[in-house]
């Protein structure tokens, strides 16, 4: 008995020591000469697939295999909310795949630590002419932000900066119910918000509605506050020019007035008291259930509401220009167009694959041979463009699409439309014939859509763009997160009723927590340009 047990113990020890080695499965070189590339990515919220597909096996991965001879293996992926945590721990432990996606702060850290492959050469050599053209559409700012000491260390994920400006969304059926007009000034908007809260806009006899939706981060894509703040001449989170110098919008006195206005709305009960725990996606559920009547957000917001529209066809939303205080012009803020970056680890063997995948993404979605119904959004409404590892959008494409689709709707002549635009056109026509699934695109690209509002911003020059678009500075890497955290904490508290003098404290601590250093660095950059 004793001997047996003792040897069992020894065995156990050995197993424990070597368990790791045994479970490891080496990535084998495929026999047919395929290149294996490892990557990490977040899993987008609410992603759906055609039957049998998933993120590791879909039309894009099959395309990578057939066109590039690349077998893309995701070393790990997490829900979006966990991505930064997992990536940070991977970065620190040096346990990184060939390719991954980073934010600008992580990019700066990685660049400083010399962890990234220099892409300058492979980009020159492998990027298709169309790719190069698209990547320069924003005047080259995004590419510049990914360049460190003359080396291109990342491919920026281009978002259309125009597509990231706020429009004002309002329940037009509620306006009709209450006999109200579309608000044209901030004062009128606040009246509408109050009416939506107190006057039973859905006429169900229950006090179950809020006037204005905001999300827990205050900023962002859905139910954000940038547009509201812009109405007071306040420009949160971007750098603006004042007297020849760059200043951070967060520290300007206009912010105080805007915060006070939100605080008042909150105190009156016009804002969901639980906004502090609901992110944009969560708020979109509330909006879909008819709990809220007005919000600021991006042009595609109704895309998150299309299920709700099918369930409740009477729900009508309208997109409108943001409003300013009486007698002032509403100028909307436009962020810098790259917020995330694709990078290649320093020891990866095939950095060119990233560029080749980018070529494919742009070509198959927007190029001459584009097949958007296969590679962008399919007939079932699956967002195929979420599947590829790398994806970018030409900055101007949505603005053009709205103009051309609207023109085609008037003339019934679709010859000028490209494949993607034709897709929108068809869906809008279907919607006008009663198919509710086309509603979201009608709201995005139709004649009086959100994109039409943004086209007006552009043609009327009512845009305030972020004046700083260099890489993250030393001070930003060190302090940006703490500054953001303080901002969120203090602003949320002000909204929830803290004394407005907290804003002055916030400004003071903003400077002392590293804001002063960042301001100096940003102005040094500005004067050098």
């Amino acid at each position: 008995m004793k001997k047996v047990l003792l040897s069992a113990i020894l065995m156990l020890s050995c197993v424990l020591v070597f368990a790791g080695g045994a479970t490891e499965s080496e990535v084998a070189e495929s026999s047919d000469g395929m290149i294996t590339v490892t990557a990490a990515r977040p899993i987008p919220n609410d992603i759906s697939f055609p039957e049998g597909d998933d993120l590791e096996n879909n039309v894009w991965t099959r395309l990578y295999e057939s066109e590039l001879g690349v077998d893309l293996v995701y070393e790990w992926m997490t829900p979006v909310a966990q991505y930064d945590q997992k990536l940070n721990i991977s970065i620190t432990s040096g346990d990184l795949p060939d390719m991954y996606i980073v934010n600008s702060a992580q990019l700066k850290t990685l660049a400083d630590d010399d962890m990234l492959a220099d892409l300058s050469g492979v980009y020159e050599e492998h990027a298709a002419p169309f790719t190069k053209q698209v990547m320069m559409q924003d005047g080259g700012n995004a590419m510049e932000s990914a360049t460190f000491g003359g080396k291109l260390l990342a491919i920026p994920k281009l978002d259309s900066p125009y597509g990231n400006t706020n429009v004002l969304w309002i329940r037009t059926d509620w306006l009709d119910n209450l006999g109200l007009e579309v608000p044209e000034t901030m004062e009128e908007l606040i009246e509408v918000i109050r009416a939506f809260t107190f006057d039973d806009p859905d006429q169900n006899g229950i006090d179950d509605t809020y006037g204005l939706a905001i999300n827990k981060d205050l900023w962002g894509q859905f139910a954000s506050l940038e547009g509201f703040f812009n109405g007071f001449g306040a420009y949160p989170n971007i750098w603006i020019e004042k007297d020849g110098k760059l200043v951070n919008g967060n520290t300007q006195p206009e912010m105080k007035e805007a915060l006070q206005a939100v605080q008042e709305l909150y105190a009156q009960g016009c804002i969901d008291p639980e906004f502090g725990v609901k992110d944009g996606y969560r708020v979109s559920e509330d909006a879909g259930q008819g709990k809220v009547g007005a919000m600021y957000g991006l042009f595609w917001n109704m895309g998150w509401m299309s299920d709700a529209k099918v369930a409740n066809p009477e729900m009508e939303w309208g997109a409108f220009s943001i409003v300013a205080k009486d007698g002032e012009e509403a100028v909307v803020q436009m962020p810098f167009s790259a917020s995330s970056y694709y990078v290649v680890n320093y020891d990866a063997e095939h950095p060119e694959v990233l560029i080749q995948m980018l070529n494919l993404a742009l070509e198959k979605c927007f190029g001459e041979s584009a097949q958007p119904d296969i590679y962008n959004v399919d007939a079932q409404g699956n967002a195929i463009f979420e599947y590829p590892f790398i994806y970018s959008e030409p900055p101007m494409k949505n603005l053009d699409a709205q103009k051309k689709v609207t023109a085609a709707l008037e003339s019934d002549d679709t010859s000028a439309l490209n494949a993607e635009e034709k897709g929108y056109y068809d869906q809008i026509v279907a919607y006008l014939d009663g198919d509710l699934l086309g509603w979201a695109n009608y709201m995005n690209y139709g004649p009086s859509s959100s994109m039409a509002v943004i086209n007006d911003y552009v043609s009327e020059g009512r845009l305030q763009s972020d004046q700083y678009f260099g890489a993250d500075t030393e001070g930003m890497t060190r302090s940006q997160t703490i500054l953001d955290q303080t901002q969120l904490q203090d602003f949320t508290q002000i909204i929830m009723g803290a004394d407005i003098s907290l804003f002055d404290d916030y400004v003071q601590s903003w400077y002392s927590l590293g804001g002063q250093q960042i301001t100096d660095e940003v102005n040094e950059w500005y004067s050098e340009r």
């Binding site: 008995m1 004793k2 047990l5 003792l6 113990i9 156990l12 424990l16 368990a19 790791g20 080695g21 479970t23 490891e24 899993i43 919220n45 609410d46 992603i47 759906s48 995701y74 070393e75 790990w76 992926m77 997490t78 829900p79 909310a81 966990q82 945590q85 997992k86 721990i89 620190t92 432990s93 040096g94 346990d95 725990v277 609901k278 992110d279 996606y281 969560r282 559920e285 259930q289 299920d307 369930a311 409404g381």
Partner: protein, 292 residues
């Protein structure tokens, strides 16, 4: 026994307070249960308290239709089935030598400190992760077992229980020529059944309940154990379970009812195991904790 009027009143008062305490423990779960069995419009209208309104099993059907959920459930079950025996074997093997006096086993104090220090001192998350990754355990099932294989707290409890075993029994066995392992499994273990049952419960619960390791060490949600999965959907108030493909459920199931159903299903195993082991730990937990 004869009780005075005062004493009777005191007794009643006593029982009332204790009953209220029990209610405070039961009602939240009852509320959750009622929500999980009600249809979403009734829940949204605020009509559900402790009894289901518009009774439906749709939320459970919805939860069980999610392959993520039962995959995670299965991983957690495996984690308990493998992790608990590993914990218990190690606990027994370690507690026995540590229960010896310094005279009987010279290195005993060194080992004791060696284990106990790890209860308060740790190198932090990142170095821990690096070691697990260097062992190629990231994303493997063993990452959920090995790093938590040595439950120091349980070891201390069992050591203390072993110290109470009368020395005479062991000496008699020694004279019969029995070795330490025989003594451990033939004499000590049977005498400390209540404590061992308690530790089995602790070990089951800690394996079933841990979520953080899964979240950090697994490389994809498919490999999350149940509590990690639940952490991403129930606690992260951002995430919603419903998606386009779930249209068929939209009328009766909401985020709230389906979350309630998930929480209840995840609690079920603890509810099932608990009564069987609870009679032991009222005695077991005490022996280890306080000894004068």
């Amino acid at each position: 026994m004869h009780l005075s009027k005062q004493q009777k009143i005191f007794r009643i008062f006593n029982c009332v307070i204790l009953s209220i305490l029990c209610l405070s423990c039961i009602l939240p779960f009852l509320n959750l249960l009622a929500i999980s069995f009600s249809s979403s419009p009734q829940v949204a209208a605020g009509n559900v308290s402790f009894w289901p309104e518009d009774f439906t099993l749709k939320s459970y059907k919805f939860v069980l239709s999610k392959s993520e959920f039962y995959r995670a459930f299965f991983i957690s079950v495996m984690k308990v089935l493998v992790g608990v025996p590993v914990n218990m074997i190690i606990t027994l093997l370690v507690a026995y030598p540590l229960s010896k006096t310094k005279a009987e086993f010279r290195s005993r104090n060194f080992y004791m400190w060696f284990f106990v220090i790890t209860m308060v001192f740790s190198g932090g998350l990142v170095p821990w992760y690096i070691i697990i990754s260097k062992l190629h355990l990231i994303d493997s099932f063993w990452a959920l077992i090995l790093p938590v294989a040595v439950p120091v707290y349980n070891i201390v409890m069992l050591t203390n229980a072993f110290k109470d075993v009368p020395k005479g029994l062991e000496e008699a066995a020694l004279i019969d020529g029995a070795g330490p392992l025989t003594i451990l499994f033939r004499i000590y273990a049977p005498l400390c059944k209540a404590m061992l049952a308690t530790l089995v419960l602790f070990s089951i619960v800690s394996h079933w309940n841990s979520w953080f390791e899964g979240l950090i060490l697994m490389n994809r949600p498919d490999n999350y154990p149940l509590q990690s999965y639940l952490q991403t959907v129930v606690v992260n108030r951002d995430v919603t379970l419903m998606s386009n493909s779930d249209l068929q459920y939209f009328n009766v199931v909401s985020d709230r009812t389906s979350k309630a159903a998930q929480m209840f299903v995840a609690t079920l195993p603890v509810i099932i195991v608990y009564p069987f082991l609870q009679k032991y730990f009222t005695t077991g937990a005490t022996v280890g904790a306080v000894k004068e």
